[in-house]
């Protein structure tokens, strides 16, 4: 199964893989070859690529995925390899978001802070997996 990951700035990944797992609005999914054609929306989470028994990770934050039987295309708005993540920055972002959530405020700020918190948690998780 061919996995292509493209971002607006570059082609992030394009190789044959055995399985790919990621988080969607409907929950975490794992895709094997010969999946039914499907389009899903990405939610911030860990992207796990299994390739010849080896596993690679990346932090996938936003975008959507087009699944065809022999091809998976991820249109990612934000995606990072573990090496590209600044751990201390993610930690700081996490604390900032938590602070904002506990202090309370307008609904829209809450949604934003929640999304920021989710992103920073994903980054921390992925950089720990390195």
């Amino acid at each position: 199964m061919n996995l292509t990951i493209v971002t607006p700035d570059r082609e992030f990944f394009n190789e044959e893989v055995d399985m790919v797992e990621f988080n969607t609005t409907e929950g975490e999914v794992g895709i094997y070859p010969n999946h039914v054609p499907l389009t899903v929306i990405v939610k911030s989470g860990v992207l796990k690529i299994t390739q010849d028994g080896e596993v690679r990770h990346a932090a996938l934050h936003a975008g959507f995925v087009q699944i065809l039987p022999d091809e998976v295309t991820i249109l990612a708005e934000i995606i990072e390899w573990p090496g590209e993540i600044d751990g201390s920055r993610a930690e700081a972002a996490k604390e900032r978001a938590q602070g904002r959530l506990s202090s309370g405020g307008a609904d829209i700020d809450m949604i934003r802070a929640e999304a920021a918190l989710r992103r920073s948690l994903t980054r921390i998780r992925v950089s720990d997996l390195r």
Binding site: D9, E11, L38, F64, L75, E77
Partner: protein, 284 residues
Amino acid sequence: MASMRDIKRRKSSVQSTQQITKAMKLVSTVKLQRSKGRAERSKTYFSCMYDTVVSMLSRAGEINHPFLQPSESKKKGIIVITGNRGLAGGYNSNIVKLIKNNEDFDKDDIIIYPVGRKGKEALSRFGYEMSEDYSDMIEEPVYTDAMKISKKVLDDFAAGEIGEIYVAYTAFKNTVTHIPTLLKLLPIKVEDERDDNEKAVLEFEPETEEAVELIIPKYITSLIYGAMIESVASENGARMQAMDSATSNAEEMISKLSLLYNRARQGSITQELTEIIAGAEAIS
């Protein structure tokens, strides 16, 4: 005939102008290479994006969503992408003309979302209504910039402040051809010429309506981003061309002035000689 000193002064001023235009040409050539590379690298993303949206909207008949319906509001929002700097030939003024000369656009029904100072200045002089200014972004457009703009226009669209959204940008065909383009973003109309059999059968998760809600903003964002980086490439291309012709014009002027200068120099030597000889003759 102008005096030797005048011609010399003129020549050196043209020469220093030529040096500047030459340097500007070199700078924009380098910038053009970079922005061209960027535009090409992002192509895969946009074609994938386009295919998905088309296959999604090929079943638009069943989808009832404000993004796909004509809106009540008569106002039209236009994202105008120009440069922050001039000296790029017709690059900035072509975009301004594109909006000014369009008969479908009534000045009072237009809200401009300016990206680029030149277009903003020109259009506000003509009395167009301006929304928030995004001029800083055009220097080095990144994807998050496009996200900010698309969020703003989609919010205004949802609030009913504008009923249609356009983007005016300069499409980059190749280094010498740049086409001022007006693209309608919302409400979306995708012409799909493929017949039903060719269309990819796609299921959506979550339901199609929700997927429209989530994917269309991403589609709009990618279009805005694409328009921004193409415009940057076009701007550098246009500036490179303008500076190239300025440099060769200066070259031409310099050679004409050199000829004039030499002629004036020769003339003055001849005159001096004649005077000396006439003087010598008078004495003898």
